[in-house]
Every structure is written in structure tokens, then in C-alpha cells.
Amino acid sequence: MTEPLAFDIREYLRLELMPHFMCPGCGHGIALRALLWAVHELGIAKDKLAVVSGIGCSGRVGAYIDANTYHTTHGRPLAFATGLALARPDLKVVVITGDGDCLAIGGNHLLHACRRNLDLTCLMFNNEVYGMTGGQVSPTTSATRLTTTTPTGNAEPVFDACRIAEAAGASFVGREVTRQVPALKNLIKSAMSHVGFSFVEVISDCTEIYGRKNDLGEAPEMILHQKADMRPEAFGNVADQPFRPNRLTTGILSQHDLPEYGETYRARAALLRSGEK
């Protein structure tokens, strides 16, 4: 193995936009660092990197990357990315989305992006809450948590984004916590190296709104509890909740060698054209 090149995050940031908008202790900055580290180690040229994001805290992260960045509409970044990746297979397309963006308003696009298996990487920053709008309940808010729209504690079951992605046909599914930065970087590298649709759930934290509302401590405490706090056991008997993970596994959860959609489409089109000559 060759020694990885020294990584200086400033080479990949739009420094003129600093200071950034993220709250102190927000996990999204760590996720951003892991992504840029992965880009660096993969040797992807900034010109060839396209980052497509949606709306919410996660959606604002892309702007800081010195690449082709597209801040799109709420829930739709995967659909925008689908068009971009099909029109420009020479670009490396990464989607940054959040738990609300990806699983609530954008849920249908996630399902079909997984099924289509186009070569792009989707990073879902999961902080269990709608932070940008002030802390409302999201599809991944843990049971009993307080949010501005669950004053008596969340009573809705959560989505397991990774199981959804795999069931919908994603050929690469992984999950990692921001607590483990090198592991997260390596997972993103694997995802971006995978040919086909790769889905990575990044367990992030919202300290300022969600953490305070639920008395989860400061950023260090929240990071340390990242795995434990997301366990659904708190909600009830796991055996009665078959669609919920019984524990938060991390790393590459599944990987399959499946036909990549863009390649398949182009091959068939080429065949069609040669048949006409």
C-alpha cells in the first residue's frame, strides 16, 4: 500500500466563505471533512467533482466545497443528480442530503435512485431532526425524543435508511458515525469507488437544538453516545418491531456487483446506433 498523501482540508474548501454557518458541535463539519479527505485520497480532481445537495442543514454544507456545487430543492437532490450523472458520466457525482430531505420529502427519489443503480454516491447526514427550521421531528428521530413538534416525546417509529436502501436495490450500503472519522473517510472512499449507486448513512449530531432540547449533553457527550442513543430498544420490545434494527451496525452493510444503469443505457444505445449503420 502506498502512503496516503498529506491531506490539507483548506485545498478543498472555499475559504472565502469562512466562517461557516454550522453551529458549534454540529456533526456535519466532521462529515464534510471525511468526504473531502476521501476525495483527496481517491485523487479526484476538484473540477470533476459535482456535489448536489438538497435543503436543510446538510444542504448548506456543499457550498463550502471548492468543486461544482449545486444546492437544489428540498428532497430532490437525487433526482437532479440523476440528470447530471446521466448527461455527464465523466463527473464524479456526490449527493449530500439529510434525514428529512432524503427520507421524508425525498423518500420516493431515494427508492428509485437505489433501484436504478446509477453511478453516484449518496451521503445522508442523519442528525435525527429538522435543524434548519428549528428542530421538528424527522423520520429518524428516536423514540420518546422531544422536538418542537413532539412536545410529549416522539411516538412515531423510525426509518432505518440503510435497510430501505438495500431493499430498494442499492448496490452499496454503509453506515458510519462521525465519532470515527478515519472509518467514515474509508467508508466514503469505498462508496465512491463502487460502480453503481452507493448509499452511506452518516450518523451526525445536532447539539444546539436537538441535544439541548433532550438534555443530551454537549458535543463530546453526544458524540460518545452516538451508537447507544440511536438504539431503538428504548422504544420497546425489539422483537415486536421487525422493521427496526436491533442495533446500529456500522461499516459496509451490503455490496453487490450489479449492472450500472448509465453504462447499460449507453451500451444499448451504441448497439442501436451500430445496428442502423
Partner: protein, 379 residues
């Protein structure tokens, strides 16, 4: 030079014109009565190195088109009422980010699911004002298969040149009609690309330019910029500074106003000496044209003004066409939409009457000529 006539259906002509204009990306979702456009595009695009994709809904369809356009492709989607409603948010995004794209809306009866197989003209106002906020948009209203061809190619030319979403709006009758048309030579149909930015120091993606249309960045070629639906400064980054925000929106609107000489298009038929001018578009305009022909035979001085660019409304040509008219009649397949613009421009100088049909049937020439004669009795 005579071109050979080619028999085409309206929706087929739309697809062929798009490909001829240089469209290389289509994303869509099936919906009556526009689905034939998607079907034809799925056959045509792979043959010319383009991409067709059927998306999970109309929201994703327009999103994918805008994404492809980011990448430099000329892109189009096609839909009908319910799908057009779903596209409104991303239509505003295209207007805000100045991303060229063409949206075809084949109008059917509404509201809601309405009458999927029947013609209507109920989306005239939605096409102008459907997305939230003040925004630039161009809407074209062809009335025949020939015009679907020429207006679709014009839609690409305008969308690229002014970096604005362009809606091609026609009704179910024309969509499914078979007519022989003159297909222009390929070189006449190709739409010039949007202005492209060249790499250089201090480049700002939304800087003021003489044309008010900033050159667009093609990713992968040295300039790395940010694109956002948030109100943005010339740098491309979000801003809420009042003077910058003010200028950002006003430039978007002014870039259309500034180029009205290129964007406006209309057709005036026998308006010079007309005492009553009929204003209509689409299939209704064709009924009106027949009505004018028969009215003239009966000695009634009627004329027809037909906007081909519906939005922005061709005000100057309209004023010229109605300058000598005593009255204006606006027949339309809705409860009264086009008439609102006509009344605004007429400003009480002469009476404006409507003739509306919302039962899923087109207005017949006879209904229009009868209404004209009824109005003439008041003079």
C-alpha cells in the same frame, strides 16, 4: 426551395423538433395526453447519443432535466396539468438559477384529474404564475402541428439564449392531430448553446453583463461555481443584503423585458380594418380563424389576433392589432383567463367580451361567429 411535406402527429412533431433543436436529454413521467412525446423521445434520443429516462414522478422529471442542463445538455420534459402542477417548484428553481430547460404542457380539462382526454386551456395563468415569487418565464402557444414543430425549436433557442425555462403550451386536440408539415432543414432548427463562460480570474457566475444574461459555467472545465435557489449575489453565493437581493431579482425580470423584440411573436389576421378583433390561442384560434373567414364572406369586419408567445404577452403587436377595433372578443377553453390580460391592456378603451367553454369540447367556429354577430348588433 420546397420542402417535402411530412405527416406528423402534434406530440410526435414536438419530439422530433426537440431532437432537431439539439435536445439530448429527456426525463418524464407518463400522463395523458402528453405521453407520446416521452415515447418518441425514448426512441429518438439513444439514436443521437442522448439520454431518455423515465423518472418516478414529474417533480423528479424536471429536477433531472435541470441536472442534465447543469452538465450542459439541452433538456426537455413533457407533461399535462397534474404533472405541471408538480413541476412548479423546480420550474422556479430553473428560473432562479437561470438553468435552461423546456417544459411541454399539453393542456387537458381540469382542475385536478379533470378530463384527461379532453382539450382545455385552463393552464394559461398557471404557466405564467404557477411557481411562487416573481420570476421570469417564457410561454409559447402553438396552434397547429406545424407550429408545434417551429415553436418547440424556438423554445430551445430562447431558453438557451436567455437562460430561462420555456413552457410550450398546447391543447389535447393539437397534440393528437395528424397534419402534414414542412420540416425545416436541420441547420435551421438547431438552437445555439447558451452563452458559455470562459475560465478567468475574478469570474463571477451571476455578474451583470450587457445582455443581462450571464454566461453559464460548464462543469469540468476549470471554473468551479456554486448554484443555488437561494437569492444569490453575483458570486453565486447566498445573500440577504437588500441592495444585492433587489438587483438579483430585478435583473432576472429585466433580462426578459430587455429582449422583447426577440421574444415577442404573434399573428394578426385581417385586423387592419377589423371592427371586432378576436384574441385566441391554440385550437380556439383555429376555430376563430375559420369564423373570421365566414364572417368576412357575410360582410362582418372581423379579425384575429393570436399570441404565439403568450408570456410575456406581445403587448405592442396587440395594441397595433386592436387600434381600430370597436370591440374585442376573447374565446377560450376556460372560465376566463386570457381575457384578464386583454382587459388589462385594453384598459377600458373598448368593450371586451368573453366566450368560454369548460365542458371538454372545443369551441366551434359557428359559436364564435354567432357571438361576434350578437356583439355587432350592439354597435
Amino acid at each position: 426551395m420546397t420542402t417535402e411535406l411530412q405527416p406528423l402527429h402534434g406530440n410526435q412533431a414536438c419530439a422530433l423538433a426537440a431532437v432537431a433543436a439539439g435536445c439530448r436529454f429527456f426525463a418524464g413521467y407518463p400522463i395523458t395526453p402528453s405521453s407520446e412525446i416521452a415515447e418518441h423521445m425514448s426512441h429518438e434520443l439513444p439514436r443521437v447519443g442522448g439520454v431518455f429516462v423515465q423518472m418516478e414522478d414529474e417533480i423528479g422529471s424536471l429536477a433531472a432535466c435541470i441536472g442534465a442542463s447543469f452538465g450542459g445538455a439541452k433538456a426537455m420534459t413533457a407533461t399535462s396539468g397534474p404533472g405541471f402542477s408538480l413541476m412548479q417548484e423546480n420550474l422556479g428553481y430553473a428560473a432562479m438559477t437561470e438553468t435552461p430547460c423546456v417544459i411541454v404542457n399539453v393542456m387537458r380539462g381540469g382542475p385536478s384529474t379533470g378530463m384527461p382526454t379532453r382539450p382545455a386551456q385552463g393552464d394559461l395563468m398557471q404557466a405564467r404564475w404557477g411557481t411562487h415569487g416573481d420570476h421570469p418565464i417564457i410561454v409559447l402557444t402553438p396552434a397547429s402541428v406545424q407550429e408545434i414543430y417551429t415553436e418547440t425549436t424556438r423554445a430551445f433557442a430562447l431558453s438557451e439564449r436567455f437562460r430561462v425555462p420555456v413552457v410550450v403550451l398546447y391543447d389535447q386536440v393539437v397534440a393528437q392531430l395528424l397534419e402534414s408539415i414542412e420540416v425545416p432543414p436541420a441547420e435551421q432548427s438547431v438552437a445555439a448553446d447558451r452563452p458559455w463562460a470562459a475560465a478567468g480570474n475574478g469570474f463571477q457566475p451571476y455578474a451583470e453583463t450587457e445582455s443581462l444574461v450571464p454566461p453559464m459555467v460548464r462543469p469540468g472545465e476549470g471554473l468551479r461555481v456554486h448554484t443555488t435557489g437561494l437569492t444569490h449575489a453575483p458570486t453565486g453565493f447566498p445573500t440577504q443584503a437588500p441592495p444585492v437581493a433587489d438587483r438579483a431579482l430585478k435583473r432576472l425580470l429585466e433580462k426578459i423585458e430587455k429582449h422583447r423584440d426577440v421574444i415577442d411573436k404573434s399573428d394578426a389576421y385581417r385586423c387592419e380594418d377589423a371592427e371586432i378583433v378576436i384574441v385566441a390561442c391554440g385550437i380556439t384560434a383555429r376555430a376563430a380563424r375559420r369564423a373570421v373567414a365566414t364572417l368576412r364572406e357575410e360582410g362582418v369586419k372581423a379579425g384575429l389576433f393570436r399570441p404565439l408567445t403568450m408570456w410575456p404577452f406581445p403587448e405592442r403587436a396587440f395594441r397595433a392589432a386592436t387600434a381600430n377595433a370597436r370591440r374585442v372578443l376573447v374565446p377560450e377553453l376556460n372560465a376566463g383567463q386570457l381575457i384578464l390580460e386583454v382587459e388589462r391592456l385594453t384598459a377600458g378603451r373598448r368593450p371586451v367580451a368573453g366566450l368560454n367553454r369548460v365542458d371538454g369540447e372545443p369551441l366551434a367556429p359557428r359559436q364564435i361567429s354567432d357571438r361576434v354577430k350578437e356583439l355587432a348588433r350592439h354597435d
